[in-house]
Subunit: 375 residues, 2 copies
C-alpha cells in the first residue's frame, strides 16, 4: 500500500516524477553540521525532534554527529525510530490510552524510552503499564506550560506535586522537566524571541529550584526549537535542545529575523516539493500538480524557489495555481519547479519517500517510516 518511489537512484532530478519530496543533500548536511557544531561548543545536549523528518535514516545521521537520541510526539513514531535502530527516544508528549501505553512500555525493552505527563491520572496509568510490562523504571518528564496553553501543568507547585507523585511510584522515575516554548518559535523579531525564552527559562529555573528545595533533583530541562535554541543554549537553565526543523527549514521559519533584522540565515532551505506545470490555460497563470495533498498550508503557501516572482496563489486538492505575471521564467507546460513548503513537518507527513539529490543527480531514496504515525 505504500506509494511507489518517484525516483530511482542515479536518475537526473529532471526525470523524477512529481509531486516528490526532494532533499538538497548538500544544504541538508550543512544544516546538520551547523547545529551539531554549535551544540558541541555549548555544554548542552542535542536531542533533535524526529517529528520533523519521521525517518530513522536521518535520526541516525543526527546521532552520528553527537545527538544523544531523538524526540517524538507519538508512540507510533517512537516505534518507527526504535525499529530503525535508534536506542534513546523521548516522547515529548502525554500518552493516554491502554493500547498506546502497552506499545510504549513494550518499546522500553529495546531502547531507553522517556515520556511526559501533566496529570496524576496519567501517572497512575503509566505506573500500571510499566509494572505490567515488567519494566524496572520508566523515566517521566513533567511537562510545564510555558505560555502556549496547550498541554502542561503550571510551573512551580503544580509541577512539584506531580514530581512527588512520580517519585512515589515504584516503576517510574522522575527524569526532568519538559519545558518547550512552542509559541515562541515563530515570533519574528530576535529580541522578542529572546525575551520569550528568558521568561520560559525563569519559569523552568524556579520550578527546578523548588524541586531541589523539596529534595527532588532535576537533572534535565529539555525544550527549544529551531527558532529559539540559541537562547535556551545561553540560558544556563536548559540542558537539552529539541530542535527539529533546522535540518530542512521552511518558508515560515525563513520569515524569522536574525539579530541584524535580516531574514534568518541560521540554516538553509533543504526540503522542496518537486512539481510539474501541468496546465497553462492563460498567460497569467500556470497550474502545478501539487495542491493540498502534496503540501501543508497551515503556515501559508509555498514559495517558488526557481522563480521567486511567481506566486502560489491558490491550492485545491490536487492543483496549485501560480500567478506568473511578474515571473521572468515563463513556466512552460511540463516544466518542473521546486516549491519551498510553508511548514515542513506536516508536508513530510504526506509522503512515503525522500528523494535525496546531490547537484542534479538522485543519490538516495529514503523511506519515511513514521509517515502517518499518528497513534
Amino acid at each position: 500500500m505504500t506509494t511507489r518511489p518517484p525516483a530511482e537512484i542515479g536518475m537526473s532530478l529532471a526525470e523524477v516524477d512529481t509531486p516528490a519530496l526532494i532533499i538538497d543533500l548538500d544544504a541538508f548536511e550543512r544544516n546538520l553540521r551547523r547545529l551539531a557544531d554549535r551544540v558541541q561548543q555549548s555544554g548542552v545536549r542535542l536531542r533533535p525532534h524526529a517529528k520533523t523528518h519521521k525517518c530513522p535514516v536521518i535520526a541516525l545521521k543526527q546521532i552520528e554527529l553527537g545527538a544523544v537520541g531523538v524526540c517524538v510526539q507519538k508512540v507510533s513514531e517512537a516505534e518507527a525510530m526504535v525499529y530503525g535502530g535508534v536506542r534513546d527516544v523521548l516522547v515529548t508528549n502525554e500518552v493516554v490510552g491502554r493500547q498506546k501505553l502497552r506499545h510504549l512500555t513494550a518499546l522500553a525493552h529495546s531502547a531507553r524510552i522517556g515520556v511526559c505527563a501533566d496529570d496524576p491520572a496519567q501517572l497512575a496509568d503509566l505506573e500500571a503499564a510499566a509494572a505490567e510490562a515488567g519494566l524496572k523504571t520508566l523515566p517521566v518528564h513533567i511537562e510545564i506550560n510555558m505560555g502556549g496553553n496547550r498541554c502542561g501543568v503550571e510551573p512551580g507547585e503544580p509541577a512539584l506535586a506531580l514530581a512527588r507523585l512520580v517519585q512515589d511510584m515504584p516503576h517510574l522515575s522522575f527524569a526532568g522537566l519538559q519545558a518547550y516554548h512552542g509559541s515562541a518559535q515563530h515570533l519574528r523579531g530576535w529580541a522578542e524571541r529572546q525575551q520569550a525564552i528568558k521568561g520560559a527559562a525563569d519559569k523552568a529555573a524556579m520550578t527546578r529550584d523548588l524541586l531541589a528545595a523539596n529534595g527532588i533533583r532535576c537533572d534535565n530541562i529539555t525544550g527549544a526549537g529551531t527558532g529559539t535554541f540559541e537562547f535556551e543554549t545561553a540560558s544556563g537553565v536548559y540542558t537539552e535542545l529539541q530542535c527539529g526543523s533546522y535540518i530542512f527549514m521552511d518558508a515560515d521559519y525563513g520569515r524569522n529575523l536574525d539579530r541584524d533584522g535580516a531574514q534568518t540565515r541560521a540554516f538553509e532551505p533543504a526540503l522542496f516539493v518537486w512539481a510539474t506545470v501541468m496546465s497553462r490555460p492563460a498567460a497569467e497563470r500556470a497550474i502545478v500538480d501539487a495542491g493540498l495533498k502534496a503540501l501543508a498550508f497551515d503556515s501559508g503557501p509555498p514559495l517558488v524557489w526557481d522563480e521567486p516572482a511567481a506566486t502560489y496563489e491558490r491550492a485545491s486538492d490536487e492543483h496549485g495555481r501560480l500567478g506568473i505575471t511578474a515571473a521572468t521564467n515563463r513556466l512552460k507546460l511540463g516544466d518542473k519547479v521546486k516549491l519551498v513548503p510553508g511548514h515542513c513537518d506536516p508536508t513530510v507527513n504526506l509522503y512515503d519517500w525522500y528523494v535525496g539529490v546531490r547537484g542534479e543527480r538522485v543519490e538516495s531514496v529514503w523511506p519515511i517510516t513514521a509517515r502517518g504515525a499518528v497513534y
Copy 2:
C-alpha cells in the same frame, strides 16, 4: 511502512486506538443509496469521484449500486482503482510527463481509461504514449473552464480547436467535455448554486452545439459535485455526475443551504476522526490527540460531534485544543470523541485505514490504497 490498523474487527468503538478514521456504516450506506436512487430516476449516469475515498472497496460498492465507473485526479489513483478491481476510470485531469503517461497507457490494457486535456502539447504527448503502448484508442475529454480559472480551455472555439486535434490523432478519440464547476460547490445559497450551474450548463451546451455544427459528436458532458448535482441533473445538458463527498459529507459541505434556507440535509455526516482527550490542564480546555497530521484544516476546523458546544480552537501538528467552557459533557482525560472533518478528501489522505463501525462495533477495516497517490 504502512501504519498498523487502529482497530480489529469485532472490537467496540471505545477500544479503537486514536486518531482513527471512522465510517458510520449506516449513515454511509444511506448516503450511497440516496444518490444512487436519485440518479436512477434521472436519466444521467453516475461516475463518483474516488479522490474522496481513495479506496477500491468503496468504489466497487458505488458500482454495485449503478455507477458506471469512477473518476480520479491522478494516474496513481487510477492504478489503485484498477488494481482493486475497477474497470472504468476517468482521470478528470491533465496528465503531463513521461512516467505518468506510461503508467496511464499501461493501465488502459486492463480497464477503460479516459483522460482530460486542455493543450495541444498534451494531446501530442498522449498520442505518442498511446501509440507506444499499442493502444487502439485512448478516450480524451476536453476540459473547459467553468469559471474557476484553474485548468481548462475557454468554452466554444478553443474547445472546438482541441477536439479537432483529438480527432486528427490516430490513437486518440474525442469522448466529450469535462465541465466540472468546482467553485460553485460551496456557494452557500441554493439559488446561487443554481445560478452558477445554469451558467456552466449554458457554456457546455454552447460548446456541444458548436462541435455538432462542425461535425463533431459530443456524447458526454461530465461534471457536477455534491453541492450542485441536482442542478446538473436537471439541466438537460450534463450526461454524467462526478459527485464524491456525498458518501461522507464534511463540516464545510454541511454549511451549504437547502432550498428552504436550512443547512443541507441532502446527505449525512458519515466520516469522523476518532480522538482522545489526552490532557486536561485547565478547566476551560481539553487537548485532543488529533492535530494537523490527523485532520485537514483548509476548509476550517472540525466540529465536535459528541459535544457541539465544544469548539476546536487551535491545531498544532499533533494536538488540538478544544475550548469547553460551554460544553455540558466535560470531556474528561481519556474520553474519546468524534470530530467531523472540515474537508473530507485531504483528511482521508492522511490515513491508511478506514474503521467501519456499525452501532458501537467495528465491522470492517478497509485499506485506503490510494492514500498518498499524488503522482
